[in-house]
Symmetry: C2
């Protein structure tokens, strides 16, 4: 008997999360056992609200463009299902929608929290003997999912960060004056995004000079020493800092500030993020010419600068997810197993989602130098293959040609 398939996306968007949707769609189209392909709008919330569309109603050309379109074309949510034993109300609604739509396969593309949803739904299905295969497809620019070599989305964010750090450095070199440039990247608890900027240093001197990560306690005295030394040597310093750097007590620098930091009447630092705190510190304590550059959402949305390798792997992750579901797997997440001895090679596998849900993978301490202000060769060797290759030909009339789905809600 034919069954239908449902796709949804959850959590923060990436440059290649739509490539996984595309991969699932294209693969599902080739499977005789799969009939209709549906999308839930805004993740599991779309299922809860019966906010579902059919890919049959979409223009094939727009679906083709999904492969190189940033952000989450199906919309996203941040919604945590209750533990089944605490309340099964939402589960009943979700599985009722699945049943009405004759869903046999549900694919959820997301990060740590989304894998928690995959875990709970597949447990509920097992418990109630409901025959539906539920597979998680990883995505996160943070690269912090365990059980997978790396995460779809990270390579493209890393490539954008490297490109933009190089371009920021070139801009900072123009005048014959001292300048300290601070670039802030995303990454609350794992420093992969900030670390990725080190790849630029393999081709460009001083690009960056210093990298600060959440994995190592940040020390303002050492920072001051490091910056002063570089200023004396060259007059210019390029720093990349993760938004999530913490002090020795484990408090975020963005919230804790530094000892002479301006605070409001409630003792809160009056600034936005770690980059702002470091900028103030440099300005007051080291060098008045200091610049802060924030890549903001562009680091996860700049598909025009995506890594071809990342894009290809993200599509494959979607395709393989369908294959595993068809084979009868459920409660699994697709993961990468990579080889770097000679040529880089990436194989796809399925791992038990309970090993992934709600867990974080950080940069190993021995991949960071002793001083805690740069990453070392092991880390560079690990990251280098992930930013390779460019996508070309995805502009039309001077602008990126990104997909625009109609997402017409179907009647259940």
């Amino acid at each position: 008997m034919k069954k239908n398939c449902l796709i949804a996306q959850s959590g923060g968007p990436t440059g290649v999360i739509n490539a996984s949707v595309y991969g699932i769609y294209k693969e599902a189209k080739t499977i005789a056992k799969i009939d209709n392909i549906y999308g839930a709008i805004n993740g599991i919330k779309g299922v809860l609200n019966s906010n579902i569309f059919s890919f049959d109603d979409e223009n094939e050309e727009e679906i083709e463009k999904l492969k190189t379109t940033p952000s989450s074309a199906l919309g996203s949510c941040r919604h945590r299902l209750k533990e089944i034993e605490d309340s099964d109300e939402e589960y009943k609604i979700i599985f009722n929608v699945f049943s009405k739509l004759n869903i046999g396969y549900f694919f959820y593309i997301g990060g740590n929290d989304s894998m928690d949803t995959v875990k709970k739904l597949s447990e509920y299905a097992k418990k109630h003997s409901i025959d539906i295969k539920i597979i998680g497809v990883p995505k996160t620019i943070d690269n912090d999912l365990p059980e997978t070599d790396h995460c779809p989305g990270f390579g493209s964010a890393a490539k954008y960060i490297c490109t933009s750090v190089i371009e920021t450095l070139y801009d900072a070199e123009v005048y014959n004056k001292n300048i300290v440039t601070i670039v802030e990247t995303m990454g609350r608890n794992a420093g992969w995004l900030a670390a990725s900027a080190a790849l630029a240093s393999e081709k460009y001197d001083n690009c960056p000079d210093l990298i600060y990560l959440p994995e190592v306690a940040f020390d303002f005295d050492e920072f001051k020493q490091d910056v002063n030394e570089l200023l004396e040597k060259r007059g210019k310093v390029m720093i990349v800092v993760s938004e999530g750097i913490k002090n020795i007590d484990g408090e975020y620098i963005a919230a804790a500030g530094y000892s002479n930091c301006v605070k409001d009447a409630f003792g809160h630092v009056q600034l936005g993020g770690a980059g702002d705190v470091l900028k103030s510190f440099v300005k007051e304590e080291i060098e008045p010419r200091v610049k802060l550059v924030q890549f903001d959402v562009l680091q996860r949305a700049a598909t025009h600068c995506a890594s071809a390798s990342d894009l290809k792997e993200a599509e494959c992750a979607g395709r393989i997810a369908v294959q595993f579901a068809i084979k009868g797997e459920t409660g699994k997440m697709i993961a990468y197993k990579c080889y770097r001895d000679k040529e880089y090679n990436c194989e796809l596998k399925a791992v038990d989602v309970s090993k992934v849900a709600n867990k974080e993978k950080k940069i190993p301490r021995n991949w960071i130098n002793a001083r805690g202000n740069f990453v070392n060769k092991e880390c560079l060797d690990y990251m280098r293959p992930l930013i390779q290759g460019e996508i070309e030909g995805n502009y039309c009339d001077g602008l990126p040609a990104y997909s625009n789905l109609n997402r017409v809600k179907i009647e259940l």
Copy 2:
């Protein structure tokens, strides 16, 4: 008798200012009358300090890469020469260096202020009957030079802004929640950069919804009305604002703030720029979910996203500058004359530099809608050809392959 040629860059860098250096170099190489080609490091200051290098000492491969390398490869300065009648001290130093190096042709690539230098130096040469041809080559992302259809550098900045505004919009659409997104662009007195985002709206709905320019007095009440109307309609608003927007009294919004704006003890607004002021205003008065994205130096440095049309024209401007100099022209700036009736066509000419120096070209009021919150068709037709075409194949091993000159100082 053979003469030598000297090139320098001045003012803020752009994505294509090095393409003009490349054009001058390549053209000069073909001219029998020109012997050595030199570069002054950090603009006219490099001449004043005898900080000069020879292109002969550079690797040809690095010179080739100049064409698609951001920022000012020869370094830059912001230095204003005194009026000749007030003090000719610096002029004597400069022309002494020219004489020592047997310079017959001096090319200065820059914006309004740099054209003032071209004007003064050519006047000094004439006055003292010194046979040296001095030609200005325009560049500025601000697009505010008069006497030329547009400025090299603008098209690439515009293309980056459009691309990034589209990607920011895609990111903002992900969650099913109200959100106001504000993107701040450069542009102190002329709004061309903010206006350029309107090109994205030709392909993408609501991208952006509103554009605010320095050319029209900014009114917070009207702004509030506009934003509220859009929020009611769609729940999401995308705004592009020029850093240089001013209130009815001509004060910068960045400095003047709004009536209930938090100010420090000295009455100064406690924030960075126009975008920050608007963000605070929206947060307090309209919608708490508001995001500010700043493209910062990347809008002038992101050559990975350059306009092929802009790049080609910038190189041509350099080549034509040499041709005019050889023909005996001096005290001129290269300018574009463009036709848009059928196919876009750009011709190059030379204009008297005194018509350009220290002047600014703004967006005509009738190219902006009556409400002052978007540009109209004339403006779009004008800008559209300038962002066309992409550069491909300028990455190597996953990173942009940008030029790195040695710039070894020669002995005079």
